[in-house]
């Protein structure tokens, strides 16, 4: 079920009301049933995949806790990892691997292999719930989490509908105990959750989905577009993906909060980061901390030789890239971020040697330059993330490199986005809304997360009414999925 669908508009209040009406001991069952229904809205049969990993990890957790033998523990952990990664390998990566094998085979022998492609659709949010399930077995293995003996509660941990298909990728320590806690209807908490959801919806349907039309238009066939059109589309995509994914996270966190559950923060205005490492502490926080805890640190992190440290960074970011999708474009996207971080290591060492680090850190001008630079580094990597192929990504870069910066070019690009001059008014109107959004987003993010409190109720009502009215008036209500659903 999509958050931005009429069905969710009915589903959410029904489930929430039932949740508060039911006695505490039945609530886990309601949430589990609702989560199954939510997931089965896409392709019902795929729930079996979810059940398969849930059963494996449930028992793996119990065996991991019950055994004291380190070798056996490793064996159980390996079984769990193989099951989870195996599901990903079959459903997400098999065709990609086969593509590459066939290309290699064609290169060397002149013909592809006889292996057949799988004609199946990718289960929605597969990478998310698989990683969430894996975080449970890792935590039990490291002894930081007790194995969950209640099968229903464990299944709910993996399937909790607000974060089932696109995160945040939770940790068992943060969530499981919350299912045992009795939740009461608390006005201010419910209002907070709803306000957060509303802001998420605004980002999704007003900003991201309206931008998606223009981005798709440019990126669907980049060879037919001018450099200026592609440049604008790339800027638009950077905003689109932020609004799309952070919007989803806000809705998920808000929906859980209404029922009294606290999910981890997933975004913290990433485009104001002064460095790429800061960007990753603000962008998709639940995934970057997952990779930090379960891949980067086990690999040795930065407490190893410099060359090994660099290798660790590159591995983590390339795996992060392939986590996003079975395409070389994602691998390159991840590798670019890895390279940015490697470059930052050398840069920081060089500045330290010159004794400039502290001086530069305190300079406001340098901060601004760093924010702009970091944003553009992320933007460059987004080109690979959005392009449908590596060749397309290079076409986009080549065309952008040959852009003539002129008013006429800009005008022509807006005409391309508008499709016909009659739509230009709507486009300018939308650009106005976009500029207001970009200006207000850091403040609104803090308001939605209660870091700033609006003192006057009238002001608060007006603000959220304006957001809701804007969603109704300017929202894009064609069929647009969340970008991260495909991962």
């Amino acid at each position: 079920m999509l958050f931005n669908s009429f069905d969710f508009f009915v589903f959410f209040p029904v489930v929430t009301i039932l949740f508060f009406l039911l006695p505490h001991k039945f609530r886990w069952f309601l949430l589990l049933a609702a989560s199954c229904y939510f997931y089965m809205y896409f392709i019902p049969a795929y729930i079996l995949i979810l059940f398969f990993t849930i059963i494996i990890d449930y028992f793996a957790g119990i065996y991991l806790e019950d055994t004291l033998d380190a070798k056996r523990k490793k064996f159980y952990l390996t079984c769990s990892i193989i099951a989870n990664v195996g599901v990903l390998a079959v459903f997400k990566y098999y065709n990609f691997f086969l593509d590459n094998i066939n290309e290699t085979s064609t290169f060397f022998s002149g013909h592809p292999t006889a292996l057949r492609y799988l004609g199946i659709a990718l289960p929605i949010g597969l990478s998310f719930h698989t990683f969430q399930a894996m975080s449970y077995t890792f935590e039990v293995y490291y002894g930081r989490q007790k194995a969950e003996r209640h099968f229903g509660i464990y299944a709910l941990y993996v399937m909790f509908y607000p974060q089932l298909v696109a995160g945040p990728i939770e940790r068992p320590q943060n969530v499981i105990h919350q299912f045992y806690e009795k939740k009461y209807f608390d006005y201010s908490r419910v209002a907070e959750g709803l306000q957060m959801m509303l802001w998420g919806f605004f980002k999704k349907v007003v900003i991201a989905d309206n931008l998606s039309v223009m981005v798709n238009q440019a990126y669907d066939d980049p060879s037919q577009q001018s450099g200026m059109t592609l440049l604008l589309a790339s800027y638009f995509f950077a905003i689109q993906i932020y609004c799309d994914f952070s919007g989803y996270s806000d809705i998920a966190i808000g929906a859980a909060r209404v029922m009294g559950f606290n999910l981890m923060e997933n975004f913290r205005t990433p485009y104001v980061s002064k460095s790429i490492s800061e960007f990753w502490s603000r962008w998709h926080i639940s995934l970057s901390t997952w990779f930090r805890d379960y891949l980067y640190i086990p690999l040795g992190g930065n407490r190893v030789s410099k060359s090994r440290w660099i290798m660790n960074l590159l591995i983590v970011f390339m795996v992060s890239g392939i986590w996003h999708g079975a395409n070389w474009t994602y691998v390159i996207w991840g590798a670019l971020h890895g390279l940015y971080l490697v470059f930052a290591i050398f840069k920081n060492q060089w500045l330290d040697r010159l004794g400039l680090s502290q001086k530069l850190e305190s300079s406001k001008l340098v901060s601004i330059v760093n924010v702009v630079l970091t944003f553009h580094l992320a933007l460059f990597a987004w080109i690979f993330f959005r392009a449908t192929s590596v060749a397309d990504a290079f076409t986009v870069i080549r065309e952008i490199a040959h852009t003539h910066l002129s008013f006429n070019e800009l005008k022509n690009s807006f005409l391309v986005f508008a499709k016909n001059p009659g739509n230009l008014g709507r486009l300018w109107f939308f650009i106005g809304i976009l500029l207001v959004f970009l200006w207000s987003d850091p403040k609104m993010d803090k308001i939605a997360k209660r870091r700033i409190v609006i003192p006057y109720p009238f002001l608060k009502y007006s603000l959220y009414s304006l957001i809701l009215a804007s969603i109704i008036l300017f929202g894009f209500f064609g069929e647009v999925q969340f970008i991260y659903f495909q991962f």
Binding site: F6, F185, Y187, V190, A191, G422, N423, G425, R426, F429, Y461, S462, Y464, S465, L466, L468, A469, S470, I471, I472, L473, F474, G475, F476, F477, G478, E479
Partner: protein, 322 residues
């Protein structure tokens, strides 16, 4: 809880007020003579045009032998004057891109056992496979009944349809912007054009649309309850531009038709009518095609005992007679 509900009510009231004020601002500010709301929001239709004319000219109290329902295939493909030749009083209520949901609300609000004997429901695969918004917006803006427009906008479960209904209310006092009265003959729009070769490629692929099937079912159920006869029709398509996925479409539609024992007169691939000379474009008949097709259809309906031979045949002679 009480506090929460009262605050929700207050919030919704504030939102309604903000929404209506914003709408009013966008409606009353005009650029190039057109309210800004058309330029600033999505999916809005002007008040006026073919749907406005044909639905306003339709007399709900008149007794019709045949009413034609459907999309542009319908309003360009069924000429009430040819039906008149056989003595049948017909009216064409086909509207642009009319989807089964729109057809349902149109039929439910305008057709009953007192004003219609037979509904000819023209179907083709594309109206089952695309978004509803175009036909919905057109109808919400232009049909005479507020009730039907409200029903349609609520049933659509689409926020754009709610905006469209608000726009309809704002438009109450204004005249149709684009009357476009020319050419419609009892809802039928004739065209003399000839299909340009080579034909354009069809870019859509047919996919089962549960909502369309649901509304087709509801339509047939309503007509059965009203005692109004109904047949499905689909006119021929040019041999150079065949409909892909037509077999899947037939399978889906027959599931519903069989339930109500409704016949489907499907001429999609009828070789006597697929020559390019009968078409204005890849999907629509021209006057020559309409003439041939309508005579054929009427005769087939008479043969199937769905239309009774009329005694008072008119002496109308079609100018483009073959």
């Amino acid at each position: 809880m009480k506090k929460f509900l009262s605050r929700c009510f207050l919030f919704l009231l504030t939102t309604l007020s903000v929404y209506l004020n914003a709408f009013a601002v966008l409606f009353f500010i005009k650029i190039g003579g057109i309210p800004l709301v058309y330029r600033a929001t999505q999916g809005n239709f002007l008040k006026g045009g073919g749907t406005y004319i044909k639905t306003h000219n339709f007399n709900i109290h008149e007794k019709y032998d045949v009413i034609i329902i459907g999309s542009s295939h319908a309003y360009r493909g069924y000429d009430p004057r040819i039906f008149k030749e056989y003595g049948y009083n017909a009216y064409n209520l086909g509207t642009s891109d009319q989807k089964p949901m729109c057809s349902y609300f149109l039929i439910k609000n305008y057709i009953n056992s007192n004003n219609c004997k037979l509904v000819i429901f023209d179907l083709y695969d594309r109206i089952f496979s695309q978004s509803n918004i175009e036909s919905m917006s057109d109808m919400i803006q232009n049909i005479p009944s507020d009730k039907a427009a409200l029903q349609l906008s609520l049933a659509s479960k689409d926020v754009r349809a709610i905006n469209m209904f608000t726009l309809r209310m704002f438009n109450k006092l204004s005249d149709p912007i684009n009357p476009d009265t020319l050419g419609y003959i009892k809802g039928f729009l004739p065209t003399e054009k000839l299909l340009e070769l080579p034909p354009k490629r069809r870019l859509y692929t047919y996919e089962t649309n549960d909502e369309a099937i649901k509304y087709l079912d509801k339509t047939l159920s309503y007509l059965k309850k009203e005692g109004v006869k109904v047949v499905m029709t689909e006119h021929s398509l040019p041999s150079v531009a065949p409909a892909p996925g037509h077999d899947d479409f037939r399978k889906d539609v027959y599931q519903v038709l069989n339930k109500y024992n409704v016949l489907w007169f499907d001429y999609t691939t009828d070789s006597s009518m697929t020559d390019v000379q009968y078409f204005a474009d890849e999907s629509h008949l021209n006057v020559k095609g309409v003439y041939k097709y309508n005579h054929r259809l009427i005769n087939d309906l008479i043969k199937a005992n769905i239309l009774q031979p009329a005694t008072n045949q008119a002496s109308f002679v079609y100018k483009d007679k073959e």
